[in-house]
């Protein structure tokens, strides 16, 4: 932000004069924060108390000053009900992304947090940490930054909140040396997310961390150098509970599933019935199945119509000891989830109903699919148009043809309702379908042989 812009912005923001702290010689006066002080009361841990601790107890005078100034500006926001940060351009050497610049519009009053940039840093996949590595991050951050950290931002980054322009480089250099790298910001591949998965969850159907790292680290260049139409997010959930909200919130959603039968421990089913009662099991398991695929038999064992099970996870959630995912595991891939702007909310759409992810070739296949999609979108997406919005604009079929994926009835809830369609290529398309069915059968035979 230029000086001139800053001046104009300052005028527009109407900062009251009382915000300026009275300074005694050599001593920093604290900004008064009556509204924030109110948030120090109550039983939940207070972020205000934390920031005050930095102001009052931290040995580094720089951090004390930043914390005091930040509290002053935040109190000013509370009083006027407006925000006072502006963006700009800040980057580390070699990257065009990963730092969220924040310059204060009221920096003249709150001098010591005038530059308050956020660094987005990619967490270890699955958000696993040792206390040692957390201490290393804290040590580096108090050397160069404000001392405030968030695990994690909504995209999934560790958010190091509050560094001056100069110090962003020093901090990055230091943590980059012990294995951390910046995440995405702007029109680029963004930091990914994966659930706890195989690390601790019995419902895991894939190697979440490996998928996350294989995909993200294939696109490091697209993470660090924004050159895409808009953001592109990968999220990985190990089962259809989708703890990473990937269908709603990611452009490329990978969800673990299985193709064979649910594994049933009938003795455990019987002991659930014994413990909870038949009515509870009928009301909470049997009748909640979305495809009526469950039946409780007279001897209190469970019968499952596996052909019609849609792997929704409900019965496995209620009876995790009795029911488990099958052995023929893999993933479903959905494309194009996002929130409102610009055209309205979109859920992801199935583009791959099932894909095995066992061998290195399988991982190459999913990486190539992601590359194909990002390349096609980079070519055809409009500025600031998410991948799902492009699909909405051009139609799923044009998109699938563009990335070389065949249509599949699993991609739709229902076939077309509208008769406004030209079908003169029907015979060719029908031939393609039957040919593909034949090929699939041959492949299956070969696989089982």
């Amino acid at each position: 932000m230029s000086k001139e812009q800053e001046e104009t912005a300052k005028k527009a923001s109407g900062t009251p004069e009382k915000a300026v702290p009275l300074s005694r010689e050599g001593e920093r006066e604290h900004f008064e924060t009556p509204m924030l002080d109110d948030l120090e009361t109550g039983p939940w841990p207070s972020f205000v108390t934390g920031i005050k601790r930095l102001r009052d107890k931290h040995p580094d005078d720089r951090i004390q000053g930043v914390a005091n100034s930040l509290l002053g500006q935040l109190e000013h926001s509370y009083e006027t009900r407006k925000g006072y940060w502006k963006g700009g351009t800040v980057s580390v050497f070699g990257y065009g992304s990963g730092i969220i610049p924040r310059f204060s519009e009221v920096g003249a009053q709150f001098e010591e947090s005038r530059e308050f940039h956020t660094l987005r840093v990619q967490p270890p996949a699955g958000n696993f940490y040792s206390t040692d590595v957390l201490r290393n991050l804290a040590d580096s951050w108090e050397k160069w930054g404000s001392g405030l950290i968030t695990f994690h931002g909504q995209t999934g980054n560790i958010m190091f909140i509050g560094a001056s322009t100069e110090n962003t480089q020093h901090f990055f250099d230091e943590i980059n040396d012990f294995g951390f790298d910046l995440g995405g910001a702007g029109p680029c591949v963004r930091t990914g997310q994966s659930c706890v998965g195989a690390g601790r969850c019995e419902q895991s159907n894939c190697q979440e961390m490996k998928i996350h790292r294989t995909l993200l680290n294939n696109f490091v260049d697209d993470v660090h150098r924004p050159a895409l139409p808009y953001k592109f997010k990968f999220k990985v959930s190990g089962c259809a509970n989708d703890c990473m909200n990937s269908i709603e919130r990611s452009d490329f959603s990978i969800i673990g599933t299985w193709r064979d039968d649910i594994k049933v421990n009938q003795e455990e089913i019987q002991s659930y019935v014994k413990e909870k009662g038949r009515q509870y099991i009928i009301d909470n398991v049997i009748t909640r199945c979305p495809t009526q695929a469950l039946s409780l038999k007279d001897d209190d064992t469970l019968e499952i119509d596996n052909r019609n099970c849609v792997r929704c996870m409900h019965c496995l959630n209620v009876m995790p000891k009795a029911l488990s995912p099958g052995d023929d595991k893999g993933v479903t891939i959905l494309l194009g989830g996002k929130r409102t702007l610009k055209i309205g909310d979109l859920m992801g759409t199935v583009i791959v109903p099932f894909m095995k992810l066992d061998t290195e070739e399988d991982y190459e296949r999913i990486t190539e699919l992601a590359e194909e999609i990002i390349d096609f979108w980079a070519e055809n997406g409009l500025e600031h148009e998410r991948c799902g919005e492009m699909v909405e604009r051009i139609g799923l079929v044009n998109f699938l043809e563009g990335i070389g994926v065949d249509v599949d009835p699993n991609m739709v809830s229902d076939p077309r309702v509208s008769s406004y369609v030209r079908t003169d290529g029907w015979d060719d398309e029908a031939r393609k379908w039957f040919e593909k069915q034949r090929q699939n059968k041959l492949d299956q035979k070969a696989a089982t042989a």
């Binding site: 104009t8 980059n176 703890c243 909200n245 995790p320 702007l341």
Partner: protein, 359 residues
Amino acid sequence: MAEAMHHRSPIESGCPDGMQYMHPVMRRNYGNWDYHEDPQPGVLKHVSKNGEAIWTVRVGTQRILDVFTLRKLCDIGDKYADGHVRFTIRSNLEYMVDAEEKVAPLIEAVEKEGFVVGGTKNSVAYIAHTQGWLHCDIPGTDAAGVVKAMMDELIDEFKNWNMPNRVHITTSCCQINCGGQGDIAINVMYTKPPKINHDLVSNVCERPSVVARCPVAAIRPAQVNGKPSLEVDEKKCICCGACYPPCPPMQINDAEHTKFSIWVGGNHSNARGKPTFQKLVAAGIPNNPPRWPEATAIVKKILRTYRDDAKDWERLNDWVERIGWPRFFELTELPFTKYHIDDWKGARSSLNASTHIRF
């Protein structure tokens, strides 16, 4: 450029491997877990196929952590847990221990330091929050403050299993909605078109891309006071604020007219039904720091109604689907207005095209 050459080149290592930081019991049993139990609120017990078990204690914090708090959490992790932690998607910290007898002392240490154990199973999980006035460039409100104020009132619901199923609450400080979908979402909603500072537009904004950002084509280039600027067709404007990030002189935030809205029924899970988006239930709620009591009162009312009326395992969207929207508005005593009827693309699919009506 000569100076830039002295800089160290980045190591483009990307996403680090989580395996190196994982608890040894988790590493040993990777991909081999059999089932889990919920011994008490805030505690999970996972058992592997070879019989080994790991206990997890889930801890709510202030999320915006100062280094003192982070080190305190690490100290607890070293002394009472086994030096390994992870964070959930809702910013809770999880300690893992390899023996049941370690759980009680760990919980005691956590609570003694003022942190909160809970957020598992059918509780109200920690509210997911965004940046807000603390460090965002376009916020309509503060996020950390809203969440602190609400969690003070919902803490018992975090610590106990009172709800029919889990409840995810989110907050967002503008209509971009970084907080995402939630069973209950508390989102900023602007109610007036942007106020344009015409002196700044031509210097600060790339006008064609601002025009392109508008979802309803309400912005057009204009000459104002002899300067190139932009103007908004206020009859068309839906007050979404999409023009504000690319063009800060189109100020959308306003001390009085920036309001809160509450949405319910967003559910990410495929369990039972397909994932669902959240729906508007209340708007026009004042943006009232430092405690936002009006918004909190509505959230609490919805939670109480859901708790008392929903069946076990029904998420908020499942419950509304069973009882219907008229009953939802009746029970929560919220007004149903013309603003609840969607008019965006695809809106007809949200209208009732049947005689399915509950009396």
